[in-house]
């Protein structure tokens, strides 16, 4: 009996509590930078595509929503000919970002992906590719890689020893 009256009174006191609701469209919630939202493809500091079309993201994707086709430019540098993410399938797990060796594919704190037409949920490369570097500034895969892709000469990378001249006897 007393507990019933008490719970009525406590419920009444909730009239003076702060409301928990966030008025969403007017008031955007704070989302941390590493929030897993819309997927983008980034460029390196020189403005070239970071993606090397290694297919690791497509292999890692548990719902198989990524598809791409690799091709090469005149320097022999690999890049995706097309890169397609079907966001109506994507579960925003972030495994593609973890799999990516070049920090090319990244998840952003944007979740407002609603569309009227289902086909509009399929994002092509021109929709995915942004002109910035995303979350990882200053990283350029080819500056750390061993191969020469016109970014730096062989053996001049950041954590790379100079090349050994195999034909010399002095070293």
């Amino acid at each position: 009996m007393f507990s019933i009256l008490r719970s009525i009174w406590l419920t009444f006191l909730h009239a003076f509590h702060k409301r928990e609701t966030v008025g969403y469209p007017e008031k955007k919630p704070y989302l941390p930078p590493r929030y897993r939202g819309r997927i983008v493809l980034t460029r390196d500091s020189e403005g070239n595509e970071r993606c090397v079309a290694c297919n690791l993201c497509a292999a890692a994707c548990p719902v198989d929503c990524i598809s791409l086709q690799a091709t090469e430019d005149e320097n022999g540098r690999r890049y995706p000919e097309f890169f397609r993410i079907n966001f109506s399938r994507c579960i925003f797990c972030g495994l593609c970002e973890e799999a990516c060796p070049t920090y090319a594919i990244q998840l952003t704190p944007d979740f407002e992906l609603g569309e009227y037409d289902r086909q509009s949920m399929v994002y092509e490369k021109e929709h995915l590719l942004i002109s910035g570097e995303g979350k990882y500034h200053g990283y350029n895969f080819y500056k750390n890689a061993g191969v020469d892709m016109g970014v730096k000469a062989k053996g001049e990378g950041e954590n790379e020893e100079p090349t050994v001249d195999l034909k010399s006897l002095l070293k």
């Binding site: 009525i8 406590l10 419920t11 909730h14 928990e20 609701t21």
Partner: protein
């Protein structure tokens, strides 16, 4: 001619309040649950009711092929008629009422007992096991609580010496009946909640157990009538509590009597919503136990003591 105006006025006021209650209840529930409730349509979401009405009018008014069509159709009508008829005896002010009947209170009890049919028949005609279970529960619950509802009012009748609601209000000039008849008031409040089958006594429609109970198969405006009927019932019980126990239109004279009546009614409507916000639903057998084993002896004792005191004072 004036008579027709009064009837139309009462209907208009009552139906507007009942429709508005849909919004009020949602906002108040939200307030007590730290939410906002409907606040998009119009200022403070006030036009939500209109939007809901437009929606409900344009829905398909479906009658299931397995239902008993005639009974299925009249069931929601019985509810509306029985509740709206009862508003005829409510004295809103000294002069604003439809019917000044000598058997006003009995008229209310009769109508509320006819209101049971709406739920029982609605559930039976739907030919659905959940609806049938809901209506079985409803019939037992409402029959039970009608007994206490009638008995809890007898103290008031004895003190005011009349079944006429206007005279009952007049008899409260000295003191509101809530003080001498506190037990009667509490029992009437509980029975009123059970009679309008609202949470915590909403076991006929317990949505966690019975889909939607007796109105599972209803759609469109037929469902709307059940829905508005519930709010009409809340308004009716609130006005009756005010009339019988809280002095009706009586109040300090710096404000008009109509204000006092509506102010007190609004208070009890809000209390109904608060009850819904705070209390869980009891089990079916607990409800019946509580009724027959606690409320019935309490009410009978109340009648006995009231009668004894009145006889002693004479």
């Amino acid at each position: 001619m004036e008579y027709i105006f009064i009837i139309a006025g009462v209907l208009l006021i009552v139906l507007t309040i009942a429709a508005g209650l849909i919004w009020v209840e949602r906002r108040l529930l939200a307030l007590w649950q730290d939410r906002y409730g409907p606040n998009r349509v119009g200022p403070f979401g006030l036009f939500q009711v209109l939007a809901d009405m437009i929606k409900i009018f344009f829905k398909e008014d479906w009658i299931p092929p397995f239902a008993d069509k005639a009974v299925f159709v009249i069931a929601p009508g019985i509810l509306m008629i029985s509740i709206l008829l009862t508003f005829a005896i409510i004295p809103f002010t000294d002069s604003f009422f439809v019917l000044d009947s000598n058997i006003g209170l009995l008229f209310f009890l009769g109508n509320s007992s006819l209101g049971v049919y709406s739920i029982v028949l609605g559930g039976w005609a739907s030919n659905n096991k959940y609806s049938l279970l809901g209506s079985i529960r409803a019939s037992a619950q409402m029959l039970t609580y009608e007994v206490f509802m009638g008995l809890s009012l007898m103290g008031v009748v004895m003190m005011s010496d009349s079944f006429n609601l206007r005279e009952i209000v007049e008899a409260q000039r000295g003191m509101w009946f809530v003080f001498p008849q506190f037990i009667g008031f509490v029992v009437f409040l509980i029975a009123g909640v059970a009679e309008t089958h609202r949470t915590p006594f909403d076991i006929p429609e317990a949505e966690g157990e019975l889909v939607a109970g007796y109105h599972s198969e209803y759609s469109g405006m037929k469902f709307g009538m059940f829905f508005v009927g519930e709010y009409l019932g809340v308004t009716l019980i609130s006005t009756l509590i005010v009339t019988l126990f809280f002095g009706g239109w009586l109040g300090p004279s710096f404000l008009p009597p109509a204000f006092w009546f509506f102010f007190k009614t609004a208070f009890f409507i809000c209390f109904f919503v608060l009850l819904r916000a705070s209390l869980p639903r009891p089990r079916y057998d607990q409800l019946m136990d509580f009724g027959w084993k606690i409320l019935l002896p309490l009410v009978l004792l109340n009648i006995l003591v009231t009668g004894a005191i009145i006889l002693y004072l004479q």
